[in-house]
Symmetry: C2
């Protein structure tokens, strides 16, 4: 994992991939699968929605920290497995063979098997909607990874992998933030 | 366009596609391109983030209504075009050859060329983050459409079309809401 510019971290989330969110609470790592996320601004500010009933919700609230880890197509069954059991009963890092790496600015771990990781602090939890507002504080990418296709959850048990890429940079130049 | 069950409308948004958002204000239709969206719950509640400087923001605020229209790969250059000009200066429906169809419950139009349309009412605007909370009230799909690959914006001028689909319905059964 090498440093990834924080000012470009939104480009990891804007495509709308299903992600893994790690937390560390009471000396224990946990991870959940989340597909309800959104970019809030180019400073690497994000929102995600999760329920109070999730084990990770308590850790997010207590520690105010997490890592958004971006998996790729080869991790599809890990993503599904992580999303269908609870950290209350299972050590998910052990069960799914995930490698926790130390983050730089937060206690929650990076996931070595993922394409990228964004370290985040909780800015605010907007209670009536369970929207968690996050500020990215560091980002990392595995530059040597071959499989880079992201996964998109449909919500009905189906998933879609990235297909063809199209460049419209020229037409969009005026809309892109500096340095992106 | 035929009716699409509102209880499944979240499956149109959960994959994280770039969408078109229509509004109608003062007798004029407008449309913007948005990729910062998120599902909030299975009742067809959504969030999107947009800036106060956008022409559509005023219409959203004043009318409290919009339509989330889901374009597909064949509409890539329409999506880019709509996203790089303003309704202040341009009639975007005319310029991009989009056909406005009457919605059932809101004043904002459906877009005939899109795969699906979700009629929405504004529930709340969470001011400090410019998060617009929307409640879907009706949904429509073009069942005869051949091109159904969604588009995902990367944020750097690149776009990615849907690729291969994978079914993990069996593994996820306990996590799916009834009827989905």
């Amino acid at each position: 994992m090498i440093d990834f510019p924080l000012g470009k971290a939104f480009t990891l989330m804007e495509p709308g991939p299903v992600i893994l969110v790690t937390t560390r609470d009471g000396g224990k790592n946990n991870v959940m699968t989340i597909s309800w996320t959104m970019v809030l601004d180019f400073t690497a500010r994000f929102a995600l929605t999760t329920g109070r009933w999730n084990h990770s919700y308590a850790a997010l609230t207590r520690t105010g920290e997490c890592v958004l880890a971006i998996p790729t197509l080869d991790l599809l069954d890990t993503v599904v497995g992580v999303g269908t059991c609870s950290g209350r009963e299972v050590d998910k890092f052990a069960r799914f063979g995930l490698t926790a790496l130390p983050a730089r600015q937060v206690g929650a771990p990076l996931i070595a098997e993922c394409l990228a990781n964004i370290e985040c602090r909780v800015v605010e939890i907007i209670a009536p909607h369970d929207i968690v507002v996050l500020q990215g504080v560091a980002a990392h990418i595995d530059e040597n990874r071959r499989e880079r296709r992201l996964l998109h959850a449909v919500g009905d048990g189906g998933f879609v992998a990235d297909g063809r890429r199209f460049d419209r940079r020229g037409a969009m130049r005026d809309k892109l933030p500096d340095g992106v």
